[in-house]
């Protein structure tokens, strides 16, 4: 009976999402509909409105629009391009140096902002033309950008971890710390993989040759220039200071994640106006509007997700699921394996915020029951979310790379298999050696 409910629920859920309805509205509409089945319409809508208010009433979530804004600022002020230049100046000579530079600068970018989408689109705009010029095949170019983009969610600060912490009442600083080692592992493995596949550089397939003849330079070029190491480092210095301030501040106990985000915004605005002189008031207003646009979209998902989460709990689905697990007395490893498979499959089809709001209310009781370390599970969950970003058919980052790079989606997906494989390796390592996730938080305490 229980399985029937859950499967029915998931089917309706997927149907609503597949209709192309904006995710936030879809979640909320579905929630009010289901709640009406339990009670009546008037009651259901009243309760839902309370959820609208209470879901937004959180100082943790204020970090979301601020980190989105900071990311826009870093992209628009040219901080991101300067980071890429610096990485290129140091690593350019290396085998697959540009690819590795893309990974490293994405990692630095990710240490200032928490969004994979912004990381992928910013680094894509900067690095794709460069990688093209260096005759990287489209698949390897996509591999570099999707890999770099996926770091956005792992390396702290991370919007996903902020929401995870908010939903499970876990310390954000601890969660951020937990993302560090896996993030570092990913950077190392991505870079090694870039070198491993450097043999394919310069060998374009016939179809790509034709394609590149027809649509030459579909991407605007950002300020990518050749610099000496010293010049590049000097240029990138202010950008490199941003992660130091953000992460140093959070771990020095000077400020919270939300405050760190604010300071990042003010810092980047200052650098943009005074030091790089790439900002003016008109541009700043445009950046504010873009960031507001993205934040409002996230807010609607937060609201709809909170409503749906409430309905899921009201419908006793997590409780039933837990009872089922207790009754069957699953082997913990088997259970963990099943959860990962489930998350992987859901991730292929779901938008990541929808995945979080669907999965956390269901899984968190299981985590508590099994007495799993919540920080450890958060990292496992995070890596799965990361896979969701880049697994076809519905991986948000894939579409971004295809769109801004003018690369065929088929090639992007081919390239994405490299980061997918590596994330799965890190995921398995984290499951076998929980200290990958729990070591850093334990040091920081």
């Amino acid at each position: 009976m229980m399985t029937f409910y859950i499967i029915g629920f998931i089917v309706i859920f997927l149907l609503v999402l597949a209709s192309g309805m904006p995710v936030g509205f879809g979640l909320g509409f579905l929630a009010i509909g289901l709640l009406t089945c339990y009670t009546d319409f008037s009651e259901a809508t009243s309760v839902s409105m309370e959820k609208v208010y209470s879901s937004m009433d959180s100082s943790i979530l204020v970090a979301i629009p601020l980190f989105v804004l900071a990311a826009q600022l870093i992209a628009e002020t040219g901080m991101g391009a300067r980071l890429f230049n610096a990485a290129k100046a140091f690593l350019g000579r290396l085998k697959a140096g540009l690819g590795v530079s893309t990974i490293i600068s994405s990692a630095l970018f990710s240490a200032m902002t928490g969004s994979s989408f912004v990381a992928a689109s910013t680094m894509g705009l900067i690095a794709i033309p460069e990688l093209r010029r260096a005759k990287y095949p489209d698949a390897l170019t996509s591999a570099a950008i999707t890999a770099g983009g996926s770091l956005g969610a792992v390396i702290p600060p991370s919007l996903i971890l902020i929401i995870y912490g908010y939903l499970t009442d876990e310390s954000i600083a601890k969660l951020f710390a937990a993302g560090m080692v896996p993030g570092f592992l990913l950077v190392v493995l991505y870079s090694l993989a870039m070198m491993l596949f450097s043999g394919t550089i310069g060998k374009k397939s016939d179809t790509e040759e034709e394609a590149s003849d027809t649509d030459e330079a579909p991407v605007p070029e950002l300020q990518v220039v050749e610099l000496t190491k010293w010049q590049a480092l000097k240029e990138a210095f202010w950008g490199l200071m941003a992660p130091v301030i953000i992460l140093g501040g959070i771990y020095g106990g000077i400020f919270t994640a939300t405050e760190a985000a604010s300071i990042a915004v003010v810092y980047c605005t200052f650098v943009g106006f005074v030091i790089y002189r790439t900002l003016d008031l008109k541009k700043l207003w445009g950046i504010l509007m873009t960031a507001m646009n993205v934040s409002a979209m996230i807010a609607m998902i937060v609201i709809g997700g909170a409503m749906l989460g409430f309905v899921v709990v009201q419908g006793h689905i997590p409780q039933d699921l837990l009872a089922f697990i207790v009754e069957k007395n699953f082997n913990p490893w088997l259970l963990l394996f099943l959860i990962n498979v489930l998350l992987f499959i859901l991730g292929m089809f779901l938008e990541i915020l929808a995945l979080i709001y669907l999965a956390i209310p269901l899984l968190y009781p299981v985590v508590e029951h099994m007495e799993w370390n919540n920080v450890w599970f958060a990292v496992i969950f995070l890596l799965n979310v990361n896979l969701a970003l880049i697994t076809p058919p519905m991986g948000g980052v894939l579409f971004i790379v295809s769109q801004i790079g003018g690369i065929e989606l088929k090639e992007v997906i081919k390239g994405a298999f490299l980061p997918i494989t590596i994330i799965i390796i890190v995921l398995i390592l984290t499951i076998i050696f929980p200290s990958i996730a729990t070591w850093m938080p334990s040091i920081i305490n």
Binding site: G20, L69, L288, M289, S295, I301
Partner: protein, 165 residues
Amino acid sequence: METPKKRFFIFRWIDKLTDIGGAIAAFFLGVIACIITYEVVMRKFFNSPTSWVGETSVYMWMVVGLLGAAFALKNDSHFGITTFIDQLSAKNRSRIQIVTKCMGLIYSIIFIFKGYEMAVTSYELEDISSGLMAMPLWIPCMMVPIGGLLLSLQFINKIAEEFSD
């Protein structure tokens, strides 16, 4: 993008109103960053933490989310999974779009009426926030119906657009 058709004046007004909502939301987003930084500076350097920043920033985030939502709708920025419906013929896709937008409209209308009801209840009960600010809670509650109103208007706009195409 095709050239914008001359649209009925009401729809142009709706777009104007949405833009104003978006501008207010963007302005508040900037203000949030400033006041939180101010709070950190006051606390760390002058040892005098403020009593109002934490709370105010949350209310402003509600403004950003709820007033900005219609603007994001106008720009089609609300993320939806369109992979499946993109496979359909233009006519069928348009039909599904109209259905999902009507669902969105109903959802937003609930925000107006039920959100207003919530704000009125809060006003009558004289609910105030638990923080030092003692903010009357009906003020942030009003963001729900106002946001809902902007969203509803914008959904009507979008549905009309779908019909005119």
